[in-house]
């Protein structure tokens, strides 16, 4: 390759090259050897795992009742892992009645103490896995160890602790999370935090309200969002205050929550929110109105159908097209708005719920009755052409506003 007089000669190239080749070949051999060994080892491990799982499953009632003492399986790492996995899987799908038996087994065998100790004293991934396992136990005594980990300098550990608390799924686990959140001492991914809080507050969403009242800015938005998901009819008055919040995200969450409140309380507020200056607040209000059983909502939805935002229009159309009232009557009101885009959105939704033909048949009569609806007839013709013969429609009707 290089000539005899090359400068590379001076640095002992032959020596370097020989070793480089040796190193590369040795590396290849080692990698191939490692791959083969790892495959063989994994195959053996999974065979053993499967065999022991079957054996322990056969003894499961005795293990659970304590007839087979914990010491018989806890000292064997593989058996211990299998029993813990079975227990945690069972806890995840168990109801209130079944849970105590599984928890008793965890406690009596010492598995729970072992995990609590690991969550407090171990490092790195071992600690994180212990935190998650503790969360899956749903045991109240796991909460303090999980809370301690919220102060860890490692973000991964904090996230594992938040996930663990989320898995506990009790208001008792929500309180420390909210305390940390309110004091802005919890730095984890917002998605993780919201999921955890959602799980923890499901049984008692009212614990969010005092925290909401104490916070501002992004933290307030996060708590309001959880409340929006979990709101119950009993939270009516608190939600009314949120609807007047200066933060649009909070108002949107209030609209979301009001869908679950009593209609006589929520309808007037949602009607106001449907005229909010932020489009996503209006959209949330329209969505909430779609699930509300109130006779007055049709007027709000008709106004929303003429909204400048297409998402709001489409959602209003979606709701109107699926209302129990006569489609012809609603169509007449839509035509009377003299808004071609509102009409297009509504007809499109009618078509999607297979009510278009009947509605279009009544359109001619409506055009004749409603003053100033001449333009609407043209739109109806275009829409009719769209739906009747899709292949013949022109580009003029699409992408033009």
């Amino acid at each position: 390759m290089a000539s005899d007089s090359s400068w590379l000669r001076d640095v002992g190239l032959a020596w370097l090259m020989a070793r480089a080749i040796l190193f590369s070949l040795l590396g290849i051999l080692l990698l191939v050897g490692f791959i083969v060994f790892r495959r063989w080892y994994r195959g053996r491990y999974f065979t053993r795992l499967s065999r022991r799982t079957v054996a322990l499953r056969e003894q499961w009632p005795d293990i659970l009742s304590g007839k087979i003492p914990g010491s018989a399986w806890r000292l064997n790492a593989l058996d211990c892992q299998i029993v813990e996995d079975i227990l945690l899987d069972n806890i995840e799908v168990s109801d209130r009645d079944q849970l105590p038996a599984f928890l008793a087994c965890l406690r009596n065998s010492g598995l729970l103490d072992l995990r609590i100790r690991e969550a407090r004293s171990a490092d790195g991934w071992k600690r994180r896995l212990a935190l998650l396992a503790l969360g899956r136990t749903r045991a109240p005594e796991a909460v303090p160890a999980l809370v301690e980990a919220l102060e860890s300098p490692s973000e991964e550990t904090r996230a594992a602790a938040v996930r663990g608390l989320g898995r506990i799924s009790s208001p008792q686990a929500a309180v420390p999370l909210l305390d940390f959140l309110v004091h802005e001492e919890l730095h984890v991914s917002e998605h993780t935090l919201k999921d955890a809080l959602l799980n923890c507050c499901r049984e008692a969403p009212e614990i969010l309200v005092p925290y909401l009242n104490r916070t501002k800015g992004r933290t307030r938005e996060v708590i309001a969002r959880i409340l929006g998901e979990l709101a119950s009819p009993g939270l009516g008055e608190e939600l009314l205050i949120l609807a007047a919040d200066p933060l649009p995200e909070v108002r949107a969450s209030a609209a979301r929550a009001l869908a679950k409140a009593q209609p006589e309380i929520s309808f007037p507020v949602l009607s106001t929110l449907a005229m909010d200056k932020e489009w996503f607040v209006r959209l949330r209000a329209v969505i909430a109105l779609s699930s509300l059983d109130h006779t007055g909502r049709i007027y709000v939805l008709l106004r929303a159908l003429c909204d400048q935002n297409r998402h709001v229009r489409q959602r209003a159309a979606w709701t109107l097209a699926r209302m129990r009232q006569g489609k012809e009557e609603i169509l007449e009101r839509v035509v009377a708005t003299q808004d071609n885009y509102a009409l297009q959105a509504f007809l499109s939704e009618l078509e999607r719920c297979d009510s278009l033909d009947a509605a279009l048949d009544g359109l001619g009569n409506i055009v004749a009755r409603v003053p100033g609806a001449a333009d609407v007839e043209a739109v109806a013709a275009i829409v009719r052409e769209h739906f009747a013969a899709p292949g013949k429609a022109t580009a003029a009707t699409v992408g033009k506003r």
């Binding site: 000539s3 080749i21 009707t397």
Partner: protein, 474 residues
């Protein structure tokens, strides 16, 4: 002359040494990153995203041009993906075959008067269709602008979600791939602006109705070599570069992006030859120009299976096109080189791409020429030459074997001993003679680009993604 040959040969040695050391460093970083990712996966449950009300919606963009062989089955498969808030937008880019009629028939499409605002200018959209049976499906029919980028841009305009995911019409996404790729965003939604997933080769696998039933290695040499090449490129290269926030490319076959950012940079560049590479470089530029703290991520477990060329002619065309795209993008980003404003992007990844990717075939050709000349003129040390060849070959093979090791340590898609043995055997052929073949194809790409031939030669499809006809929606 002798002096020139001496300098040339020495330079080639140093070039090759640096290139291999770079690759070795990337392998080490990738092994570390992969093990870190595996640990993270153990503490997260991507499937938990499915049940969360906080999971952001995604618009899946599927540009389709003359895809009648696979479009119905593949769209059906996309509609069945496990993701809570999904909108599928198929953009029919003036197909001359039965792509649109097949979609209309199979999914009950009807023209819908939907407002379409061309925030990114595209060729005119002539019709928008919605499906009665699948409300989340939207089909745009547009005139051709002669490039895939324009079709994707139309999809971006029509998308209503904050994130858009671009998928090739002939590719198959695994059911949980969207949940898994979103995990790369959800951990840091403020910083992560785009995420790439891994693209694997579908050829040889068992597919039924656009769903992957069994992963198998392809049968032909050229396809298996591509499997090794893809493993090295994705599991080593992308994983390692992403660790330093220097990911130069997210594959056009599978990537997710923040829609608002795509709108700000004007979407995919319609006249770019390699629109995916070009987009990521422009994203880097925009985010640096605006001093935005960001991360462009790669996650190796969400998988997209795609059909790779199975004959030499198609592969040659594909590689030539890729190289044209590489040069085109690097040339348009030349003013980012060694500029303080662009930080590591300007000082590390772009120079690396120029030196070890774009100019590599030229430098290799130069090397082969000077070696032959030196041999003819009698100034070549044969002993050293052989040693150098052996070193280069062994070192590069080490990296390929390392990528198979990574696959084994992490995702193990090829389960049988026989398949792993074949993968390892083919690692020894990736650098001789496959590398030399690709070198010539890439040189052809360079030559075509310099001649101004930017045409997108169609790659022959065998319809591997639809081995069994689908009965979706019929």
């Amino acid at each position: 002359m002798l002096r020139f040959l001496e300098i040339s040969n020495d330079s080639l040695f140093v070039y090759y040494l640096i290139s291999n050391l770079f690759n070795l460093a990337l392998l080490v970083v990738a092994i570390y990153q992969n093990s870190l990712h595996r640990h993270r996966l153990a503490s997260r449950r991507p499937l938990g995203l499915k049940s969360s009300p906080f999971t952001p919606p995604i618009s899946l963009l599927v540009p389709a041009r003359n895809e009648e062989l696979c479009i119905v089955a593949n769209v059906g498969s996309l509609l069945r993906l496990d993701y809570p808030e999904l909108e599928v937008i198929v953009v029919n880019d003036a197909s001359s075959d039965q792509t649109l009629p097949a979609l209309r028939k199979s999914f009950g499409l009807h023209r819908a008067p939907i407002l379409y605002v061309a925030e990114i200018p595209t060729a005119p959209v002539t019709a928008i269709y919605r499906s009665l049976a699948h409300p989340q499906l939207l089909v745009l029919d547009k005139q051709s602008a002669g490039c895939k980028a324009d079709a994707i841009n139309a999809g971006i305009n029509a998308a209503s979600s904050p994130y858009v995911c671009v998928v090739d019409a002939d590719s198959i996404l695994e059911k949980d791939s969207l949940s898994r790729i979103m995990a790369g965003i959800i951990s840091e939604p403020e910083r992560v602006v785009a995420v790439g997933g891994i693209v694997r080769i579908l050829n040889g696998s068992k597919v039924e109705g656009a769903e992957l039933k069994e992963v198998r290695l392809p049968r032909t040499h050229i396809e298996i070599l591509q499997v090794v090449e893809y493993l090295r490129a994705f599991l080593v290269g992308r994983e390692a570069w992403a660790a330093f926030n220097l990911l130069p490319i997210i594959s056009g076959a599978f990537g997710i992006f923040r829609r608002d950012l795509l709108l700000k940079i004007g979407g995919f560049r319609a006249d770019a030859v390699g629109e995916d590479f070009d987009l990521i470089v422009r994203l880097h530029r925009y985010l640096h120009d605006h001093d935005i703290d960001y991360h462009i991520n790669f996650v190796a477990d969400p998988t997209c299976w795609t059909e790779a060329p199975s004959d030499y002619r198609s592969l040659a065309r594909q590689r030539a096109r890729w190289h044209k795209g590489l040069l085109d993008t690097l040339w348009s980003a030349r003013n980012m080189l060694f500029r303080k404003r662009y930080g590591r992007v300007g000082w590390v990844i772009l120079p690396y791409m120029w030196l070890f990717e774009c100019l590599a075939p030229l430098l290799e050709l130069l090397g082969y020429t000077t070696i032959v000349l030196a041999a003819v003129l009698g100034c070549l040390s044969q002993q050293f030459f052989l040693a150098f060849l052996l070193f280069g070959y062994a070192f590069a093979t080490l990296i390929s074997v390392g990528s198979v090791l990574l696959e084994e340590m992490t995702y193990r898609r090829y389960g049988s001993w026989r398949e792993v043995a074949w993968l390892l055997i083919y690692c020894f052929f990736e650098h001789v003679p496959y590398r030399q073949l690709t070198m010539f194809w890439r040189l052809r790409g360079l030559w075509e680009y310099l001649r101004g031939d930017l045409s997108w030669h169609q790659v022959k499809r065998t319809g591997a993604s639809t081995s069994t006809p689908a009965s979706i929606a019929e």
